[in-house]
Each structure stands twice: as structure tokens, then as C-alpha cells.
């Protein structure tokens, strides 16, 4: 049985169809990349899965349950963690408290949650900065904080919205290694990413969107040579 199943979801904003009849499914333990040009509807699709938007049509199933139209906090409780492309740190709280609040979901005792948060921060490499104000981190650190916080909720499925963007090449490699470790510990990963090197490297399967429609799906090799994908990114060759 698949962990996540998206069936024909549609989301309109006024006259614009941001996500148009998109279907796909993910098995437990998979690493799937979601790519597409700017405005393709990737983030909208994330917001639909995580409950921030309600689809106009279609259904979404997670772990055998229909989660269509459920509230974001309910979906988090069921085991979907997410990061935000435009980072949303709890700015006036410390890095540790940011992550501890995520950990409180499964560990209601504050001291226990703080311990869990420390473990997560050691894993993501933010431990040294744990007592800093989250608002004073730089952007790549804030992205890692997003990841740490989502991890602290102990998700089965992790939705990552451009966590690699803004990192230098060696930081990218480090983060990809971390994502592999997280994946090997049993967390399924769906990631939106613009950095092709990263997404081609880590994904077992890639879904391509353009103008709200899913235009291709396959292994990184298949995707890289798919003429529809090349056209979406580079435009049609005029003869």
C-alpha cells in the first residue's frame, strides 16, 4: 500500500489553475523529487498535501486515511512534516526552543522534548547555535532549522520545499548525505528543488510539473532526456 496517494487534485486561484488534475503516489521509504519551472505549482501542491489549502477537486490519502480538507496541525499529527520555502522561524525564540516545540508533539514533557531537540540539532549540525535567537541565523541556517523542526515532529513523510537553495556546493553535499541518513532511518521524502544537481543526485524518482500539470514522471535518467521536460525548461526549438 502506498504511503501517499494524490488523486486528481485541482486548485484554482481566481482564473488561474495553479494545480490541474495532478495524480501520483509514493511508497514508504521512497525519495521523490518534484521539479518544474517557476510558477509550475509545486509549492501549491505542497500546501494541498499539508492542509494549508483545500483542493477544489480530487482527494489525498495518507497512510490509508483520507486527509483531504484536514487542518494542517491534524495532518502533522498523522505524520506529515514540512518545511517552508519562505522560511518561517519562530524568530524571538532560541534555535533549541524552535525545535523543542516540534518535539513537544510526541513528547509532551518539556525537558524530554528539549533533549529530543538537542539530538535533532546534533544531527542537522545546528547544535552549536542552539542558544541563538532563531531570527539571527543566516538563510542557509534558517533552512536547516526548518528541516530540524520538521524532523522533531517525527514524521513518516517529509515534505521539503527548497531546503538546498542558497547553500554552497560542499554544504549541499553535506545536506544530501544527511537527507539520505534520514531516509534510511525510515522517513519517506518528497522534495521540491531547483538545484538540479541535488535533486538528480538524491531522487529515486522525479515528477515534473509545468503550468500546474504533471508533464513527466520517471527515474532521473529518463527525466533528463525527456523532450517534454527539456521543452518546459528551455522552450521549444524553432526551426
Amino acid at each position: 500500500m502506498s504511503l501517499l496517494e494524490v488523486k486528481g487534485v485541482v486548485k484554482r486561484f481566481g482564473g488561474l489553475v495553479a494545480v490541474n488534475d495532478v495524480s501520483f503516489s509514493m511508497d514508504e521509504g521512497e525519495r521523490v523529487g518534484l521539479i518544474g519551472p517557476n510558477g509550475a505549482g509545486k509549492t501549491t501542491l505542497f500546501n494541498l498535501i499539508s492542509g494549508y489549502y483545500r483542493p477544489d477537486k480530487g482527494r489525498i490519502f495518507f497512510d490509508g486515511r483520507d486527509i483531504t480538507g484536514r487542518k494542517p496541525y491534524e495532518i502533522t499529527k498523522l505524520g506529515v512534516g514540512r518545511t517552508f520555502q519562505i522560511v518561517k522561524p519562530l524568530s524571538n525564540l532560541t534555535v533549541l526552543d524552535n525545535v523543542a516545540i516540534g518535539a513537544l508533539l510526541r513528547h509532551p514533557d518539556v525537558n524530554e522534548a528539549r533533549k529530543r531537540a538537542e539530538e535533532v540539532l546534533k544531527l542537522t549540525g545546528l547544535y552549536e547555535k542552539r542558544n541563538m535567537r532563531a531570527g539571527s541565523l543566516n538563510l542557509p541556517e534558517k533552512k536547516r532549522l526548518e528541516l530540524s523542526r520538521a524532523l522533531a515532529t517525527e514524521p513518516k513523510l517529509l515534505l521539503l520545499d527548497e531546503v538546498v537553495a542558497g547553500l554552497n556546493p560542499s554544504e549541499v553535499d553535506e545536506l544530501l548525505k544527511l537527507l539520505r541518513e534520514i531516509n534510511e532511518s525510515g522517513v519517506t521524502i518528497l522534495m521540491v528543488e531547483h538545484v538540479m544537481r541535488a535533486v538528480m543526485n538524491i531522487s529515486e524518482r522525479i515528477i515534473v510539473m509545468d503550468y500546474g500539470v504533471k508533464i513527466a514522471e520517471g527515474t532521473p535518467q529518463e527525466i533528463a532526456s525527456d523532450p517534454r521536460v527539456i521543452e518546459a525548461y528551455l522552450g521549444r526549438e524553432e526551426l
Partner: protein, 344 residues
């Protein structure tokens, strides 16, 4: 218990707390001996506003919901205590707490529509709610209409039952006890999961939801305790002044805005900030009201002008309030550092 006190006294904050508590307990005796009724009354008002500003700050400082309508809970608490005493002969020893509970229930009922609004829309709506309550009580005969309600002087043997004493001295101890009760409930609350969740909501509601937090539910929890203790503040007012009327207890400026200024002046990001703010702001305002305004009777509203000057001074000199200012100047440990010394 003894062990707890011993450990508390080893900590520097614990020592400060013990000193302040001792001063508070002795001060009314000194005021009484030296016959300083004005000082005693000012101290009582400081404590009453401390209770309410701290309660208000659970919503503003912790949850990020700015209320200009806390006069509603103050008034409901004051009226409930009075009505129970006057119509049903219920002792205010019970009535004050019932008043708090009724205020808390009113808070929950108001929370349902109010928490659909965010940021300044919420603040504006709380002003409207306060004015609506004033109008309702003005035209409600059962609660005495615009004339309000007054409790009669009771014979000597009923003084304790009806909590009726001359001057403010006895009421200071009542208010101290209730402030102590509030600290005992609020401190564990803000240090628990709920306290963390409230702060997450203040910082970013979308991020909070992604961490499994239902913002509406936790705003209602904050509203409950905030209204509860503001209502208890109203009960203190009733027993001290034996007179409630809608213009006084539902007043936007001298109740709602006073609570707000006390909280902001002390520092909303500090647990005890609102108490500090009350003890700075209320004496100034009382002094201005009693001494300066009476000397210039033609300048009606002079005390409101003074409020404006104080607000201006806060925003220019100490935008994070007195506690934030002390922290910046290095007189207090920084919040970020205190995170480190938290006990395991």
C-alpha cells in the same frame, strides 16, 4: 515544601523574590502605622493592576493577541462579586472566584468570534466589545443600570464575611494573596508545553500549525486564564470600593488602556514585566490624578495627557519595556542565556 524554599533561596532570582515579597508584606503595616492612606491605596491599585496586567500579558506577550478590551472581564468580575453579595448574600471570599470564572466563560464565548480575526483587526474588535458591554450594563436594570450598584455598610460582626474594612490595608493582603495564587498558576503554565505553544502562535501561526499546534485551541486556553484573573481583579475592586457602575468598570481608558500600558511599560516579553510596569505606572497615574489634576481643575483630562507622554517615552527610550531595557543594559541575564541555565 521546606526543601523547595531552601533551593529557591540559593538561586539569585529566588533571593530577589524573597526580598520583594518581604517588603510587600511589611509595607502595609508601615503605611498603617504612619497613617499613609494614599500610599496604601496606591499600593493596592498597583497589586490589582499587577494581577490584571500579568493576565493580559498571557494573551499579548505570550500569544501575540493584543487586547484593548480587558475592561470587559474586569467589569464582569466586579459585577458578579457585587450581585452575589448584594442579591444572594454570598461572601466575596467565594464571590471573587465565581466572578473570575464568569469572566473566564465570557472570555471563551467572546473568543469564538474574536479569534477569527488576526493582528490589528483583533485589537479593534476588542475595543468594540468593551464599549458594547458598557452599553449593555447601562441599560440593564437588574444590575442597576447607569446608576450602578452599591453595597451597604454592614455591622461589625459581618465585616469578615463581607470583607468590609476601612482603608486599603486589609485589601492589600487580599490582593497579595491573589497575586501569589496567580503566580503559582501562571508560572508553571508558561513553562509547560502550553507556554511554548502560545509563543509559537505569537511568532508565526503557519509555522505553529506545521508543528501540530491548533492555534484556536491554545488561544482559547490563554483567553480562559487571562479573563479569569482579570475578573478576579474586578472582584478586588468591588470589595474595596463597595460601588460598581458601568462607566467606571467598563472604561476604555482607565481600565483597558491602563492594563495595556502597565504591561507594555514593564515589558511584554518578560514574565514579571507587567508587575514591574504596574508598580511604576500606577503610582505616577494616581499621583497625577489626585494631586495635579485637582490643582488644575479646569484642565479636565490632564491625566490622560500624562499617559500620552509616558507612552511616548516608552516607545522612544525603552521599546521593549523596563525589563527589556534592564536586560539590554546588562542588569539582567539575557533571555538567550537563561535558556542555557534552565534546569534539566
Amino acid at each position: 515544601m521546606l526543601q523547595f524554599i531552601k533551593e529557591g533561596l540559593r538561586d539569585r532570582n529566588g533571593q530577589y523574590f524573597a526580598i520583594v515579597a518581604a517588603v510587600m508584606l511589611v509595607a502595609p503595616l508601615i503605611f498603617w502605622k504612619l497613617d499613609l492612606p494614599f500610599a496604601a491605596n496606591a499600593m493596592l491599585l498597583c497589586l490589582m493592576f499587577s494581577i490584571m496586567a500579568m493576565a493580559w500579558n498571557l494573551l499579548e506577550g505570550y500569544t501575540g493577541q493584543l487586547s484593548f478590551g480587558h475592561a470587559v472581564f474586569f467589569g464582569v468580575g466586579a459585577y458578579t462579586t457585587m450581585i452575589l453579595m448584594l442579591y444572594y448574600r454570598v461572601t466575596p471570599w467565594v464571590g471573587i472566584f465565581v466572578g473570575g470564572l464568569v469572566a473566564a466563560l465570557v472570555g471563551l464565548a467572546l473568543g469564538v468570534p474574536l479569534f477569527r480575526l488576526r493582528s490589528h483587526w483583533f485589537a479593534l474588535a476588542t475595543i468594540a466589545v468593551g464599549e458594547i458591554f458598557k452599553l449593555i450594563f447601562i441599560s440593564w436594570d437588574y444590575v442597576g443600570g447607569s446608576a450602578g450598584l452599591q453595597s451597604p455598610i454592614v455591622p461589625e460582626e459581618q465585616k469578615l464575611y463581607y470583607l468590609q474594612y476601612a482603608g486599603s490595608y486589609v485589601y492589600i493582603y487580599l490582593a497579595l494573596g491573589l497575586l501569589g495564587l496567580e503566580l503559582l498558576i501562571m508560572y508553571p503554565l508558561v513553562k509547560s508545553r502550553i507556554g511554548y505553544y502560545l509563543q509559537a502562535i505569537r511568532e508565526d501561526e503557519d509555522a505553529a500549525m506545521s508543528l501540530g499546534i491548533n492555534p484556536f485551541k491554545y488561544k482559547m486556553v490563554a483567553m480562559f486564564f487571562s479573563a479569569l484573573f482579570t475578573g478576579i481583579g474586578g472582584g478586588i475592586y468591588t470589595v474595596r470600593f463597595r460601588f460598581v457602575d458601568p462607566f467606571a468598570v467598563f472604561d476604555l481608558i482607565s481600565v483597558s488602556v491602563y492594563i495595556t500600558i502597565a504591561g507594555i511599560l514593564g515589558g511584554i516579553y518578560s514574565f514579571i514585566g507587567p508587575i514591574v510596569g504596574s508598580f511604576v505606572f500606577v503610582p505616577i497615574s494616581e499621583y497625577v490624578r489626585v494631586y495635579i489634576v485637582s490643582r488644575f481643575p479646569r484642565f479636565y483630562g490632564l491625566h490622560v495627557f500624562v499617559l500620552g507622554v509616558i507612552l511616548l517615552a516608552i516607545s522612544l527610550l525603552a521599546p521593549e519595556g523596563i525589563m527589556g531595557w534592564l536586560e539590554k543594559k546588562g542588569y539582567l541575564r539575557k533571555r538567550e542565556e537563561t535558556g542555557e541555565v534552565r534546569k534539566e
